[in-house]
């Protein structure tokens, strides 16, 4: 476990400590640097233990104290089981329908964006979960531009975060309302993606992490399911749609291996249920039909467990990371350049190159 690294980057970082002329005159302190050394590993006795690895425990403590935030958006036509899936994922009534007191559910004439927040806790870990629902999406006769209000909402969250970030008096922890993940529900036609699906995912995959799922997958046989998935993957590739986990953000070989496996399974064919049934002496979440009971968490029946593991148990931090260090940064660059251009025009200076965020 001993490795000594020579690091030219550190030296560069050290020498970049000088400050641009507009602000302060550079101080006359030399910045010498060397990088070497490792603490001799365990084996020299107890007293050679420094205790650096205690920082892991310190971080864990801090994380437990602060709690986590997660914002998930669900997008899909009415009747695809979005609310049920959310409830199944978080094993509680977190969906909008469970919160709202409406007796009958009418399909709205326009797209609404409704978000509901919950504080949930598990084994001492507290999480603020926000589920953002989009009733009305894809339900109109003319669905042109139905992605626009959703894009607008997502960008509005980025904007809000940005505003807070550039404040002079900033909050200690900027509340994060940015959409970390957008679950897109594909109706189980078994054939291929509809133009609406392609259009939506193409546009949204540039601003948010999209996780496509095949909804109500219990209507497809295993062969139909595989064929459908294959078709979908091909179409995504053909249209240049990058869904989560995006290939370009794989950090190292290990990551790539894990993510490649996931990419081969996307989109997950899921079934949701918040009702428990007795199966083989155990109470399980499932859907009971005349020909059998579909166990939601049984991977032989559907891929709900994979989705849950991906979203919650293994990749949650990564999803949030990509949102904040990539999607948000792209938005920020565009915003800052926008303003630059406006000012540049006023000064008659050449324009900066702008990244395009289509609406």
């Amino acid at each position: 476990l001993q490795k000594a690294l020579g690091d030219a980057e550190t030296c560069r970082a050290m020498s970049e400590v000088a400050v641009p002329e507009m602000m302060m005159p550079p101080p006359a302190v030399p910045a010498a640097c060397q990088v070497e050394k490792t603490v001799p590993g365990p084996g020299m006795g107890d007293f050679s233990y420094v205790g650096i690895d205690a920082i892991l425990e310190q971080m864990r403590r801090k994380a437990m104290k602060q709690g986590f935030e997660l914002n998930i958006m669900v997008v899909g036509q009415s009747g695809l089981g979005k609310s049920t899936l959310m409830n199944t994922l978080f094993k509680s009534k977190v969906s909008r329908k469970s919160v709202q007191a409406t007796s009958q559910e009418k399909i709205p004439k326009t797209i609404h964006i409704k978000s509901v927040s919950h504080d949930i806790e598990e084994k001492g870990v507290r999480m603020k979960l926000t589920v953002i629902d989009t009733p009305g999406f894809g339900d109109q006769i003319n669905n042109e531009n139905c992605w626009q209000p959703i894009m607008k909402f997502i960008n509005a969250q980025y904007e809000q975060y940005l505003q807070e970030e550039i404040n002079i008096n900033r909050k200690k922890r900027i509340p994060d309302s940015r959409v970390h993940c957008c679950i897109y529900f594909i109706p189980p036609t078994g054939h291929c993606l509809r133009p609406l699906d392609v259009e939506f995912m193409r546009r949204l995959s540039k601003v948010v992490n999209i996780v496509p799922v095949i909804a109500k997958a219990d209507t497809l046989t295993l062969e139909e399911r595989d064929f459908f998935k294959q078709k979908i993957r091909e179409e995504l590739r053909a249209n240049g749609i990058d869904v989560y986990p995006q290939k370009e953000f794989d950090e190292d070989a290990e990551d790539r291996m894990i993510n490649d496996k996931i990419r081969e399974m996307i989109p997950f064919a899921v079934v949701g249920s918040d009702q428990e049934y007795q199966v083989n002496g155990r109470r399980l979440l499932g859907r009971k039909t005349k020909w059998g009971t579909i166990e939601v968490e049984n991977i032989a029946h559907c891929e709900f467990a994979y989705l849950r593991d991906l979203l919650i148990r293994t990749h949650m931090e990564n999803i949030k990371d990509i949102t904040s260090s990539i999607h948000y940064e792209v938005y920020r660059v565009r915003r800052l350049n926008e303003n630059n251009t406006a000012v540049a025009h006023a000064n008659g200076l050449p324009q900066h190159h702008m990244t395009s965020h289509e609406m």
């Binding site: 050290m14 640097c33 690895d53 892991l56 971080m59 094993k91 909008r96 919160v99 806790e121 626009q148």
Partner: protein, 427 residues
């Protein structure tokens, strides 16, 4: 296009919802920790203290490795800060440790400005981070954070009280960095003196309003140990990299003729306490305080100084960018004005000089004319004179010719006359 309606429920009133089963997000802290482990950690310590107080030795002892080169001389002209970065690894944790040393602190005859280079250095690190944060295309994720997380202030073991240099320096640093005061080479002080010394130091710090770092007591897991340790500040430490055999173990110690001071013996010195607090319990908190308190303060002051203000929410977009541009234009405008002014002045000067030269030329011309006239006058006079002389000469010549003629006539007549005269004489 459909109109949209954004309705937001809950938020502040987020409901607490019970879970009907195991969801699995209790793995979040693990996910977070794994990410950090992959990324590596960095920690930056600043050691402030006079030369010879054992700063380097203490660092070596704390981190169990031999860090730097030779001890520094005492003849430095000013306070310099030397920083070195090391990659340490323990089990699966990689730590990028930067140790910054004040070289020459307290060695000058006039120590008024000693603290300045330290404050400048700390500010420079903040500035570098701020610059990165303000960039358009930024890479905060892979930025090597050089901000100082902890400042170990080494107090000389006089046994009496703090030196005024110490008070002044600590006062200047307390709003910029987490200060942990320690009594260096504390094996020079006896136990009873040490207690009195600590009390004196603490009371002096309080009465001078110096804010030293308090170990956090809000988390129950560590509140107790932290508050106990807060009472032991400043830590009296002894550093040593040499090992001595005590009993059947080799321990780090300093050997004297009258006994051996064991570094890790809590009865002998507070080294273990320092290591415990600095590394094993509060390293993360030190980093957090640096970022959320000291850095934010610096950022706020810096931005306000540059003229940015938090205006009302409506025209907020990029008040930063706009104000920056406005300031820049103002600056350019000033620059241009100055340039104009200089140009004007130059033109003015040139004109003046030209006029002067013209004047001189004119004068010269006049002089020349005068002299010429004078010359002509003289010439004329001379010519007149010459003429009159000529006239005279002519006149004289005429007279002479006339006279000669008369003479010759007279001679002829006079010949006879002369003859006559001669005859008369003869007679």
């Amino acid at each position: 296009m459909a109109a949209t309606e954004i309705a937001r429920q809950a938020g502040e009133g987020a409901r607490a919802v019970p879970l009907a089963g195991h969801v699995g997000f209790d793995s979040m802290p693990d996910q977070l920790v794994n990410k950090s482990v992959n990324h590596g950690f960095c920690f930056n310590i600043l050691c402030v203290g006079e030369t010879g107080l054992g700063k380097s030795t203490l660092m070596d002892t704390l981190f169990n490795t031999k860090f730097e080169g030779e001890p520094t001389q005492h003849n430095q002209p000013g306070v310099q800060l030397k920083s070195n970065t090391y990659e340490l690894q323990e089990s699966n944790v990689r730590l990028k440790l930067t140790v910054v040393n004040t070289v020459g602190f307290g060695d000058q005859i006039n120590k008024e400005d000693s603290y300045k280079s330290i404050v400048e250095f700390i500010d420079t690190q903040f500035e570098a981070y701020l610059q990165e944060e303000l960039k358009i295309k930024r890479t905060l994720h892979s930025y090597h954070d050089t901000r100082i997380h902890a400042c170990l202030y080494f107090i000389a073991p006089t046994g009496h009280s703090l030196k005024s240099l110490d008070l002044v320096t600590m006062k200047k640093l307390d709003s910029k960095v987490n200060i942990i005061p320690i009594i260096a080479k504390s094996d020079a002080i006896s136990k009873s003196e040490l207690t009195k010394f600590k009390i004196k130091i603490t009371s002096e710090l309080v009465s001078n309003g110096v804010q030293i770092y308090q170990f956090p007591t809000d988390d129950e897991t560590v509140a107790e140990i932290n508050s106990t340790m807060n009472g032991h500040l400043p830590f009296a430490v002894v550093g040593s990299t040499e090992e001595v055999k005590i009993g059947n173990k080799m321990v780090k110690a300093r050997q004297y003729p009258w006994g051996t001071v064991q570094v890790e013996n809590e009865n002998h010195c507070d080294f273990v306490k320092l290591r415990e607090m600095l590394i094993r319990v509060n390293m993360e908190d030190l980093r957090e305080q640096t970022h959320t308190r000291h850095y934010e303060l610096y950022r706020r002051c810096k931005l306000e100084e540059m003229g940015f203000k938090d205006t009302d929410p409506d025209c907020k977009p990029f008040s930063l960018q706009e104000t920056y541009e406005a300031k820049r234009n103002e600056f350019m405008g000033d620059l241009q004005k100055k340039e104009e002014e200089m140009r004007q002045m130059f033109v003015q000067r040139v004109k003046e000089k030209e006029a002067e030269l013209k004047e001189a030329e004119k004068e010269l011309h006049e002089k020349f004319d005068r002299l010429k006239k004078l010359h002509q006058d003289e010439k004329k006079k001379l010519e007149d004179k010459k003429k009159s002389l000529d006239d005279e000469l002519n006149g004289f010549k005429q007279k002479k010719t006339a006279a000669e003629l008369l003479q010759s006539q007279a001679q002829q007549a006079g010949g006879s006359t002369t003859l006559k005269r001669d005859k008369e004489r003869k007679n």
